[in-house]
């Protein structure tokens, strides 16, 4: 929202990009690279979920949109033999279209109704992939043997995308693109309009903001990015099943975003990385993992209802009384 905020976000973005790009250099442990790959993929999902939640829309169909990206891309690659680089935009576009349709269906609803309807849509999409068009989507078994992304070729030079490390750099590239778009959105005039819609839809309309259009756009963009994550998920794992896109991964994602903080751009990043690393350390304790997960969630919600980043913001603001953030049009 603020120019200094944008500058800070760009610095954070560059630092994170650098840190992420040296992960496979620092560690040769392929398991760790695998974990980092999942984190980056979850980051795309969590950050794109956050922009929608930041408009006051709790979209429980977010992982379903990811599922559409995954299934459409996998089916096109397996049934029609299409290249990954062709299925990627088609499948992500399909997820964006689904998000748009979902928005048109539900956006005049508010509060719990939007949330309940997206829940219903999520169940329907999961059921669809589970039980219908079995010859295309594999039914209850799902799709097995989704091909790896086709090698990237520039003339005589080709880059195979088969090894874990190369897949890691592929998702890193996707994350960089997604984060760049979302940062642009956050600090653009459109982002300011979204912030106004979040504050009060009635007032936003009274000053002429086309609130529905604004929400549809953000929802579609969010769906597109979820679709990209889904495409990567399908082709990097090689196996997908409708349960990969059900309520469990959705709740996990929701916890990442809420615990990290919805109102701050970096909230979902803090939540996703924090929880992912924590659950890796707790993995050896099996049942304790879920227990600790719940305990952390309760603790954070009790102590910082606005999430970890929200609490940090509050502490910083209190430490500098009278200080006010500078502004979008500061340079004008």
């Amino acid at each position: 929202m603020t120019w200094t905020g944008q500058a800070r976000s760009i610095v954070a973005f560059l630092l994170l990009t650098f840190a992420a790009s040296v992960v496979p250099v620092v560690t040769h442990d392929l398991y760790k690279v695998d974990v980092a790959t999942t984190i980056l993929q979850d980051l795309i999902l969590a950050m794109s979920l956050r922009v929608v939640m930041n408009l006051g829309l709790l979209n429980l169909a977010h992982t379903s949109l990811m599922g559409i990206g995954a299934y459409v891309s996998a089916a096109l690659a397996m049934r029609l033999g299409m290249s990954f680089w062709l299925t990627l935009p088609i499948a992500a576009g399909a997820a964006a279209l689904m998000a748009l349709a979902l928005g048109m269906l539900t956006l005049r609803l508010h509060g719990p109704y939007f949330f309940l309807l997206t829940f219903a849509v999520m169940s329907m999409i999961q059921l669809f992939f589970h039980s219908y068009l079995e010859e295309i989507f594999g039914g209850a078994t799902g799709l097995i043997g989704v091909p790896r992304p086709n090698p990237l070729g520039f003339g005589s030079f080709t880059l195979p995308l088969v090894s874990k490390v190369s897949l890691y750099y592929l998702i890193l590239a996707f994350w960089i693109a997604a984060a760049a778009v979302l940062i642009r959105l956050e600090y653009s005039r459109l982002g300011l309009q979204c912030a106004a819609v979040k504050q009060s839809e009635a007032v936003a309309r009274s000053v002429g903001i086309h609130t529905i259009r604004c929400k549809l756009l953000v929802l579609s963009l969010s769906g597109f990015l979820a679709g990209v994550a889904g495409v990567f998920f399908a082709h990097s794992r090689g196996v997908i099943n409708s349960s990969d896109f059900g309520i469990d991964p959705m709740l996990k994602l929701l916890v990442y975003v809420v615990v990290g903080g919805v109102s701050n751009f970096w909230g979902p990043v803090v939540g996703t990385i924090g929880f992912s690393v924590l659950s890796e350390y707790l993995r050896s304790f099996h049942f304790l993992e879920t227990l600790m997960y719940g305990a952390v969630l309760i603790a954070v919600m009790r102590l910082f209802p606005e999430g970890i980043t929200g609490a940090c913001e509050r502490i910083f603001a209190a430490a500098r009384p009278g200080s006010v953030p500078s502004h979008v049009t500061a340079g004008a």
């Binding site: 912030a195 009274s206 979008v328 340079g331």
Partner: protein, 256 residues
């Protein structure tokens, strides 16, 4: 030619007619008052014109165009802006952000442009900011441009709501009790802002309970009671109308 015309407008809340068969016009460049006791339907009239509640029957015309039941944002695009009785601003945004996001310059640009344009190094932004500054200066908020809106004192929040409505570049500005809760001195300042807007060519429709202020500001006044128009005329005519004196002014004078 009248800027705004209501023709036999009726609105029902369930079985209750909040506004019944109401017709009046607002002439271009005028300050028009809309008064009546509490519950007489004034705010409902505002909600109808600004597209917040649908009409049960009747028509609303703006610049002789039929605008009945159009959406609020599209009405703002046409040039109709409003404030609310309970002050409504974007609490968590700064004063400057409030005015910026309310500005028509932003709404008229394409979504792609508003997404791609950097917010700072942009020539339009200079223009926008100059306009925002002029408005903020006028309502006495230029010194508070970087403050978060919710931290402002009550008076300033009211002024910010007024500034937001003005930033939309409206031809018709509908103000719902802009003076409510202000001190005498603050009311004077608010009145000066309303006059300034009118002198800039903005037409004003004003709901206000402060009779002195209404009588002083308005060129003509519509009086509502139980959702029906009981009087329409100059401040002097309204003051002398026995029905108005009985149901409204009389009671108001007695309570003072």
């Amino acid at each position: 030619m009248s800027l705004l015309a209501l023709e036999n407008v009726t609105h029902f809340f369930g079985g209750l007619a909040a506004v019944r068969n109401l017709s009046f016009t607002v002439e271009s460049g005028a300050i028009r008052g809309l008064i009546g006791p509490n519950g007489s339907g004034k705010s409902t009239v505002f909600n109808i014109i600004s597209g917040y509640v649908p009409l049960s029957s009747g028509r609303v015309r703006f610049e002789s165009r039929d605008i009945t039941n159009r959406s609020t944002p599209s009405l703002v695009d046409l040039g109709i802006a409003r404030t609310f009785q309970a002050t409504q601003i974007f609490d968590a945004l700064t004063v400057e952000e409030n005015v910026t996001v309310s500005s028509q310059v932003i709404h008229r640009e394409s979504l792609a442009r508003s997404f791609l344009r950097t917010t700072v190094l942009d020539r339009d932004e200079t223009h926008l900011s100059a306009r925002a500054e002029e408005i903020l200066d006028l309502v006495g908020l230029s010194g508070a441009a970087r403050r978060i809106a919710r931290d402002l004192p009550y008076r300033d929040q009211k002024m910010l709501a007024l500034a937001n409505a003005m930033a939309t570049d409206a031809k018709l500005l509908m103000l719902d009790e802009p003076m409510a809760g202000l001190t005498m001195q603050e009311t004077r300042a608010a009145m000066a802002v309303v006059r300034w807007a009118r002198d800039k060519g903005t037409t004003i429709l004003l709901i206000e309970h402060d009779m002195r202020c209404i009588m002083e500001l308005c060129d003509s006044i519509v009086v509502l009671d139980h959702g029906e128009k009981i009087c329409d005329g100059s401040p002097n005519e309204v003051r002398r109308n026995p029905q108005v004196v009985e149901i409204y002014l009389g009671a108001d004078e007695c309570s003072r």
